[in-house]
Symmetry: C3
Subunit: 324 residues, 3 copies
């Protein structure tokens, strides 16, 4: 509710993009439709549209991520915006400047949008709560909380492959649900789009306590969890975070939860294989699966540009304009 | 005089912008007027003017400063220039290339302007003395010597708040005058604009020996120094530089020289509060003062873009053109 | 042969630019002619041509080099392309992503060209062998193997100074031939352009075993090697790589192979002095030689922009278009 207030403008349109939770189905569909209109742009010879010409977008990354930063930078440039990359870990905070002072300073430079990545859950909401009225905030991942553009590119990818009726789909999310901001956002989005059956599949140590309350079915056995699935979304195993404490070894994880062609026989024959990348081959899945004909992992990356273009242009109140 | 030769072109216009010292009142006023014409640009929906389209500006930073680099990069992009950021500490000099060889190489790439930040006093002048005729140098801070764009944005801010007649103003600069390139440039600018009373206020250990010669009044007591002041400009306390040797503690500094609402009663009721940022809250001043209605600290940041656009476009001999 | 397949498109034009070896004389001359058409662009007041507007070029540097990255970035911007700089050492590979996965991801973002620098010989060829059909690869230096844009800017510089007939020229390459990707590319290019006499001059420890097979004459005495030379190309001595094992000291190297005005009397009076930079003054040559009237070291840098513009625009299949 608080998030809804923050994310939705007075005109009912997108103002910030912080988390899937707080948005409604209609807005999600509008994001997907807008992204659809941009897929043509990214595939044309001339890839730019002038929607955000003269606008300044700052990638404000408190946590390094070349991959995510690159997709936002590309999306912004294809909208003809100017982009500044600020890696705040090496910057103002080193001089002891508080986050809010940093924010006020950037606001005063008349920038139009911040794309925020931060290790603390809630950082993007905190910034959106405190930012000047003319600035939009896009959450590019905050702690374990939310990674909404990743979730939306996943929804976009599913819709492209399976069609718009999510009601008839069984989607299984496999991996470290506990620590995954991606999973949290995916579950919210799948539920808002009325997905028929949303499942999470992981060892007990990697499933949060109250998961059923999220509106999902919980499985601790891979074959059971992916049985007759239309879509399997794997999550990335964060080596550094888990080994030792929560998991005996990568090898054992692979034995039990790594997706192979053999285990995939439990799913539907035309099951779609997804992963946010980067893949740990031989851990989350076999290369045969990752590179197989049912994998749309690289399509996800492509769609990430279109979805980010959609969210950025919508948050800048340019919904009415569509690329020629 | 030497500086004057370097900074002023044959047509009497700005050629390099290295230090306030060496410039004249008329040129300072012209910079302020040009900046005025750009404030509209930075506040419009479409923020770019094509004055420097096709020009290449290199931010050549021998000393890291995301904040300063960002303001120059924004200013350059709003003039439609292409910008390259080169952090020279991680670069050519690591291969043993001399400064002059680095310079010759960049010249040969047909760039049009270098924005220089360097830890050595005089670095910008040295470079300007040795650069090819078609290239302009902007000093973005050299050692303890000069930070002229900061001084000009301060003058611009004062003029906007207090009007163009500096003769009736009492301006107090409070803090570490000794180590401050900002203070040195501010004093020169205030004197060139014929400010009625320029004061510096600091503990004896932070005031250079021959300060009266700069044309200022020296105070070691805060209340005395800011009495009836129209403008108070605080300087940033550089922790790393001073603690131990020159100052007993931040706390003691705050007790004696930290600006609070209570101490401010000594100044004029409509006193304007300035600080180049980033602020050390609870050291140089209270948050109540920093965020109060008389503070123009964030306006300074905004004006920094307009002033840098002015200096950059003037140095590129585009004075005659004004943004539509 | 394998390289030829990779580098030449079905239309006989340049598809990738990986190494001089595998190209033919006619294509080399076409590169030089195209670069010639761009030298005007880089010297005009407005330096941009719209040849690559809307195209995205990624500088994918697995080995840091501000200098080389800057020349490619400038060349790309003058062709109006969007440029992304990705320093892969601090990025995806740190997360354990394989090179091919990184590549597939960037492909999926619909970029048009990768400029690759990598410490491993053959990296650019490997990437070109595996990249999607719509993407061009430019080799910006791979291990000890190849640095073809450097070689072409050297050829361009020689042609500008000495005219198009390489057959009447004696060119001596002096320095660490053994470890130099630059030397290898220069030798191939000089031979393809039918240079009359190509010589390499170095201590025995810095000459590869089978050098004569490259079509060059080998000299271990500087004065002998540069006798009646029209062009002397010095190579950079890599301190870190050689001292101790292969060379007794920089001083001794300078005594024997450092080029001085005195030793230059062995060459032709109008000998042209070249070096890829950055120079170690007092090691590879005297400052008197480096800065003398016969040195074209800085012209090499300028020509580097034009040559990179040529290669980039040709590889993007825009040969037919010429800048207005």
């Amino acid at each position: 509710m608080k998030h809804q207030d923050l994310q939705i403008g007075e005109d009912g349109g997108l103002r910030h993009f912080l988390s899937i939770s707080g948005l409604n189905t209609e807005l999600l569909v509008r994001i997907l439709d807008t992204a659809e209109s941009f897929t043509g742009v990214t595939e044309q010879a001339i890839k730019k549209v002038p929607l955000l010409r003269g606008k300044t977008i700052v990638n404000l990354f408190f946590e390094a991520s070349t991959r995510t930063r690159t997709t936002f930078e590309l999306a912004a440039k294809r909208l003809s915006a100017d982009v500044l990359n600020i890696n705040i870990t090496q910057s103002a905070t080193a001089k002891g400047e508080s986050l809010l002072d940093t924010l006020r300073n950037l606001e005063a430079m008349h920038v139009d949008m911040f794309v925020i990545r931060h290790a603390d859950s809630g950082a993007a909401h905190f910034i959106a709560s405190n930012v000047a009225p003319h600035i939009s905030i896009i959450n590019a991942g905050d702690g374990r909380h939310s990674h909404p553009t990743q979730a939306m590119l996943d929804m976009f990818t599913i819709r492209r492959v399976k069609g718009p009726d999510f009601g008839r789909l069984r989607v299984a999310i496999v991996g470290d649900i506990m620590h995954s901001r991606v999973a949290r956002s995916q579950i919210h989005a799948l539920n808002l789009l009325n997905t028929g059956d949303v499942r999470i599949v992981a060892p007990k140590t990697l499933i949060p306590a109250n998961s059923e309350a999220l509106g999902v079915h919980v499985f601790h056995d891979l074959r059971e969890g992916i049985r007759d699935a239309d879509v399997i979304i794997m999550l990335r195993l964060q080596h550094e975070r888990m080994l030792g404490a929560l998991l005996p070894s990568e090898h054992e994880y692979y034995e039990l939860f790594g997706v192979t062609e053999e285990k995939l026989t439990a799913a539907k024959p035309d099951v779609t294989i997804m992963h946010p990348g980067p893949i740990n081959r031989g851990v989350e899945m076999d290369s045969e699966v990752a590179d197989g004909s049912r994998s749309v992992i690289l399509e996800q990356v492509s769609h990430g540009i279109a979805v980010r273009m959609a969210v950025m242009s919508m948050a800048m109140h340019r919904r009415e304009e569509t690329p020629e």
